[in-house]
Symmetry: C2
Amino acid sequence: MEFRIDSIDGNARACTIKTEHSEIKTPIFMPVGTAAAVKSLDAIDMMEILDAPIILGNTYHLYLRPGDEIISKLGGLHGFSGYKRSFLTDSGGFQAFSLGDNVKFTDEGIWFKSHIDGSKHFFSPEKVIDIEYNLNSDIMMVLDDLIALPNTKERIKKSIERTTEWAYRSLVHHVNRGKKNNLFAIIQGGTDFEFRRISAESLVSLEYKGYTFDGFAIGGLSVGEENQLMYDTIEATTPYMPKDKPRYLMGVGTPEDIIEAVERGVDMFDCVMPTRNARNGYLFTTFGTLRIKNAKYKLDESPIDPKCNCYTCRNFSRAYLNHLFKAKELTYFRLASIHNLHYYLNFVKEIREAILEGRFKEYKKEFYSLRAMNSLEI
Amino acid sequence: MEFRIDSIDGNARACTIKTEHSEIKTPIFMPVGTAAAVKSLDAIDMMEILDAPIILGNTYHLYLRPGDEIISKLGGLHGFSGYKRSFLTDSGGFQAFSLGDNVKFTDEGIWFKSHIDGSKHFFSPEKVIDIEYNLNSDIMMVLDDLIALPNTKERIKKSIERTTEWAYRSLVHHVNRGKKNNLFAIIQGGTDFEFRRISAESLVSLEYKGYTFDGFAIGGLSVGEENQLMYDTIEATTPYMPKDKPRYLMGVGTPEDIIEAVERGVDMFDCVMPTRNARNGYLFTTFGTLRIKNAKYKLDESPIDPKCNCYTCRNFSRAYLNHLFKAKELTYFRLASIHNLHYYLNFVKEIREAILEGRFKEYKKEFYSLRAMNSLEI
């Protein structure tokens, strides 16, 4: 993986990541393609309509169905789904933790039962890497020791120690396998700044046969804590992350969360919010959130966002989408998902331009004043 | 509406219909866009990916939701949905009959309660035409008196008499309104050949101020009768339908039904089968029907139909579709619907070419021998 910083504005960074499959300009938002498909969309939509350079696949889901060995035989995620750009895959730990039954964390790994058929499975750091090889992920996340927040100091301490231990096992396994896929470690530590520092420093210092991690992620945030506490935790963590490697904030978040994290030095994001909110009728716009089921859109011929030039806004009206949503037409889901993902992808593109032009602070101010208007729902 | 016969081969016809919005080469299959959207697809899909010249909208559904007056204000079905080619709309009678509650047929029209909110409504021949004006349908079907089959001779006789009476009221109303939309009458009569002849002759003879119907449909078939009886009924009816006007077989059917009806002189078809079967995992191919959930497709990298060049077959494998179907991914529905509709649209295009080249019988024979192989499911 190649990585270079194109520009820095305050702590906000505009970088370029080059994997085997695509060039990624940061800050970047990665749409979530849980089961090798971003919900309601296909690979052509992602490449030609949305022009997304990287999407995320969920290791837990793909391991259970269709199975990583099947995906391997079909050319990895790229061959299987037809999406020829980059995939980042999580470790599956978070989904095993949140979706599986009878979940049990041991020093060796995570035991869980499939939410699909109740079958029993075990994820170890090494096994997760092997699954991610089968998926041929461009960026593989290590297995980490997740905990619910708030939690005891003792359990958080155990979590960061085990996370470091597992990260080291992952690195050793990866170096010994000699594969080219990139490996990212995950910083834990809850909202305790000191634990975050320790977790970051210990992961950054890991090294095996001269190899270190290709990037670092901040995990375990956006799990119910106050927004400001999340921002403060990020701010307390990024100074301990290497400047010359990508920084990824996992599972975050709202547009506001993203711009706050970029300001604190984060480069990469993923979240189900744009696609899930789309399916539930919440559409992102420059001027705030639009609830498409609102009766006032019944006769509204304008596009979702007059400032948007996405496929949906170019071709369809609020009135038509209001109708499709209320009639529960399948057509609605794709059109709404395209719009919300376009909003996110265009948003990070605008942030990048602002950073490159040294006007990040002005851009952020303007972003907030427009979003706060929420003029669409007045 | 312009209509011309391009070629005749036996009783099979290749014609051209020209409406205000598109040119339609027959035989033609019209995808069903019940609620102003073909399920899972949008107007761009229908025009650019499938190149369908005409789709069907359901008057009953659109009248109830979003309401025909709303659609009228938004530029009719064309402006509302973004599909700029032709729409044919049914009369709503069949859906009121099959979906509504407390349905009551009187000499004046049909009383029914909405399946959406239980509200009470009345469809008269004149009211249905007014709704179809609001939809700005290119081809409007008249309200007809539907009956379940089998039924008593007496009730079938009443049905064709009332259907003729309502058709005349529709024609009078339409001529007096002076609108340019085209109006088709519907022949009833169950599977009784004599009633079909009487119904056809009486509708064809209707005339008001020099105006007659723009086309004729065969209604009330494919409701559970044997295939051969349906084919025989069509064969007993088409000789009484004008040669110089389009002939439309409503709600039919399988590819086999379509080719049999074309052989007996029918030009136009509509059916939910390609889209509904797609959603249920049944995919049409040159070689028979493919059940995508079948475990043998798990590792199958070939497209649904090796002879198909549709968007789905060009980009995605059976293995990927098998996975999407089993994972209940929304993405599946659009890809499968595109394939099945492409199959139908390509099928009628091939039939047309065969008619133009005077080899309809050979084409039909080859079609049956390939379909009968059902080699995919052996």
